[in-house]
Subunit: 343 residues, 2 copies
């Protein structure tokens, strides 16, 4: 519980000046090896600890990075953050996390407090904030600190983003279902104001078109990303005159709901209806009837986001806009393997 030792204490003890101590500690080449060593030694002796705060104030660099997500207790975001943290830690940065619950007000508030905290950058999966009107967001854009989007992005000139190719993901999933012999493929979509969900939908549509399967509006239902919603949507689909023989869901949770509903109505999966989800949530693999899904390699996405951030920090002025697009992986499991249901 002793008083903190500062560079002044070290300086006094060594009869040198604080500036020299500072330089020695920072391995400044203009300091003689002798004093360097001496300073380092006494520093540890006196239990000296660098005060990053003072350093940050002086240098205008806090070595803190803000990460904004809707919620952290989703495997997808948690994995991204894991990637970010691991990568950034190696560069001496700390990660401050903020949750928005998809609430615009919270998004703005988080940006605000992060800016006040003088973070060196903000990495965010953007949700409902209005990028044209929101004052906080505009303020953020005017800052010199890098802003990066991951997963959920908005297209803004000069702003980098790290995403997966959601169009390709939608396409792959749909093509796979077609390859399995499905003819009437329905799609459980989520709010298509989000680019990611719109792109998945467009990929789905394109795959149909490329295979000369007519697009049927009634087979597309926009719903929430949860089990109950998946059930409800599936109920509706099954009431159609001509019900689907496959469901591609933009969410693993609604895919699970769909499966539960299908089962409860005695419909065989995958024989009668194939199902593919999205995100490769852990549970999809664990189910007895394992669920096919799209893997977004979230840890990799996080690491990449961190790397791009580091690049931008290093390059100072020339913040080249980077649009990194990771390729999604289709994971085929039982819920959509007619050929080889033992898979």
């Amino acid at each position: 519980m002793t008083k903190k030792t500062t560079i002044y204490d070290i300086a006094k003890k060594l009869n040198i000046t604080a500036a020299t101590v500072s330089r020695a500690l920072n391995k400044n080449p203009k300091i003689s090896d002798a004093t360097k060593e001496l300073v380092l030694k006494t520093a540890t002796e006196m239990n000296y600890e660098q005060n990053k705060l003072a350093q940050a104030l002086k240098n205008g660099k806090s070595y803190n990075v803000g990460v904004i997500v809707s919620r952290i207790d989703s495997n997808f975001f948690a994995s991204i953050i894991r990637g970010i943290e691991e990568e950034l830690f190696n560069h001496g940065y700390h990660v401050i996390i903020c949750q928005t619950n998809n609430n615009e007000k919270m998004e703005a508030e988080n940006i605000n407090t992060l800016l006040n905290a003088q973070v060196d950058g903000i990495l965010m999966s953007i949700s409902n904030i209005n990028i044209d009107k929101n004052i906080m967001f505009k303020k953020l854009l005017n800052k010199k600190i890098p802003l990066l989007f991951f997963d959920r992005k908005k297209s803004i000139p000069g702003i980098s983003s790290i995403t997966i190719d959601d169009f390709s993901a939608g396409y792959k999933a749909t093509q796979h279902l077609i390859d399995e012999g499905c003819k009437r493929i329905s799609h459980l979509s989520v709010d298509r104001n989000f680019e990611i969900f719109r792109d998945r939908f467009l990929g789905y549509k394109q795959a149909l078109s490329d295979n000369n399967i007519p697009f049927d509006e009634s087979l597309v239902i926009e719903t929430k990303s949860n089990i109950e919603a998946g059930k409800e949507a599936t109920k509706k689909l099954l009431k159609l005159q001509n019900p689907p023989d496959a469901i591609f869901s933009s969410s693993d949770f609604s895919a699970l709901g769909a499966i539960q509903e299908l089962k409860s109505q005695g419909i065989k999966i995958p024989q009668e209806v194939c199902v593919v989800g999205f995100s490769n949530e852990p549970f999809t693999k664990f189910m007895e009837l394992s669920i096919s899904s799209i893997d977004q390699s979230p840890v990799e996405m996080g690491k990449t986001t961190a790397r791009v951030f580091i690049q931008q920090i290093k390059n100072k002025e020339k913040h080249v806009e980077q649009k990194v697009v990771l390729e999604p992986k289709l994971i085929i499991r039982k819920s959509s393997s007619k050929q080889n249901p033992s898979k």
Copy 2:
């Protein structure tokens, strides 16, 4: 991209002094409402943003709290962090997350960088650090900033902890299996150097004893917390002369492994063997054969941890040691419901 405005800029514009501006901004009661209003107004006009760094340096309070866990991409820890963040946000604190991967070196390093970053407190789920020998940890204990344990604690005088009653959890799970009519209950344990795993084991043992069921060493296997380990352990158990009719696992993942192994050997669950896991991971609920488990209410645990931290910060000197013990909830699902397998 304009230069940051400081309180000095505001002061100059208003022909008052920076101190007054500071006071006005901080709603100091000794400032006239007139100037207060004026300052606030010009502050927003000039796009003023408080620099928390300077404030922190001056006050010795960063309003940052460090949270150390083994990994963030586990539903349990992610949920705890969710709770912590939500609660702390309301008090103006930010959460810096660190992952250790159960590695002592990383644990120490994280403590070190967090202290350098001048966090106002450290909330951690401790794993392998040696509290008697590790220099960094001792340094931490000598600090005036609060240290709190959640979930995985060590008993240290003066240090508060927020845990669940793991003994009770082990007891409840075992008692439930006994109530289901199981006679030979095995236990998949994890490294019992951790208090939590030891306590679960002890609860298990106590329940057996209270029900006059002899404790059989051969039914207890210490294993890792993953599917493969669960399978392996179960294989061993099934080779016993007198195999178990129930498995209580300290981990949902090894419980899942156990279930997979049992099934592959054609053993009926729960009719022939009942299974109870631990942690109430999301997947346990989603399985067709849903898995009974112990819910640790992680979000609540996080919120409670945050609240205790806030208390300690407010009470300054009198850091009363608090040992909050939350009651675990047994969630009975299909994997252990002989009576009512439809449950």
